[in-house]
Amino acid sequence: MSEVAQLQLIALSIVGFGIVVLLFIKSTFVRVIGFVAIVLGLFSLMSLAVPQLASLPPAEEKVDIASIKTPTDIAAIGQTVFFSKGQCALCHSIGPSESARCPDLKGIGAKLSKDFLYESLTDPQAFVYQDFRHGGVPKEYPATMPAINKDPIGLSKNEILAVIAFLQQMSGEPISVSTSELEIPGKAPSAPVKAAEAAAVAVAQAH
């Protein structure tokens, strides 16, 4: 007997119990219990009659540095990070969206250089336009950009580079992150990404 048939049998016997109670018992409270049993049993039978689907968790993907051959592979990893571990999509959208609480990242890869993006992710307050304003109506749930390489999100340098590669790809730009930049565990770290501007907070005029 399949599992569904077994469950149906249970539900049927609950209904049967209720019917027997209603037929043979006079006490009001017990009769109401019997009535409730019939209702609940019918509910279960109905739920068992529709298609049964369980949702299984997808396999967890482990990133293997050795499998990365091209910049597109890096961008593919960046796509996963952007929408899961990096939590970027909790606020940002790619393309216009009313519900996004933070700036739209469409075309950001074309507008900003790789190093600037890296700095914006790790030290978000380092370079802020004076009089920065959102376009349009104020956002309902504004949020402050956290430093992505620190807790609670805590992305590694490789993951941040992958996200940058993904953003460049989504802007229709050639990906400027190369595989040689990625840190391979065990090897000495490659040259650090230089900050876009001076270390001090730079203030620029903007429209």
Partner: protein, 238 residues
Amino acid sequence: MGALGKPIILMVAMYVFLKFVLPYIPGSAPLPSSLIVLYLLLTAAGIVIFQTLSGESKDAFWGPMQRFLTGENIGGMQAIRYAVLILFPLLVGWQTYGSTAASDVPPSESRTIHPAPPGEYTGLSNPVQKTPENIMQGKGFYAAFCSPCHGANFDGKGPAARGFNPPPANFADPTTIAMLQESYLFWRIKKGGVGLPIEGAPWKSAMPRWEAELPDEWIWKIILGEYDGAHQSPRTWE
């Protein structure tokens, strides 16, 4: 018999309508039995509710049934009563046996046509500009890779389409790509039939996994070409 007769006639009429009239209205098709049962159940519920709204109508409705089942001195009906009391449980048993016994009929299928895409595909937007050149290029790619099944007219009637069940999607139909976003199409083209989640029955779709053959940029261009060619526009959410 009036209070009991009318409901029986109504139920029969409803069944006849659902089974033999509705399917022959132009543009219609036979109803699956699950739907017929649902509508008949609603009708029955309505009858019971209406007949039990007042004391008199309730007595007129239940009275004959009650007399038939428990009353005394019903003469020739006595035999019929016993027949019903014996046959009804047998009928239930037969139904139960029929629904649980092994059979060669394939199980009912329930395939979610447009299941939820994985998170990393919900928020994408097309990085390719919507320019006439890009659309032309996309149509070119479409002609080369997609049209054998989905058809040169975007109607799902390509030369190879007849071999497939379920048939290739008809993009001219407003319930296909017009209901979806570009990112959804990107996911479907890139991951193909095997990339569907379980509720989408990945074993049923013959859509290839194009990420093995086409770069992302081409896929985005194909999407532009598809919408343009099928005279549809992508769905926008808020």
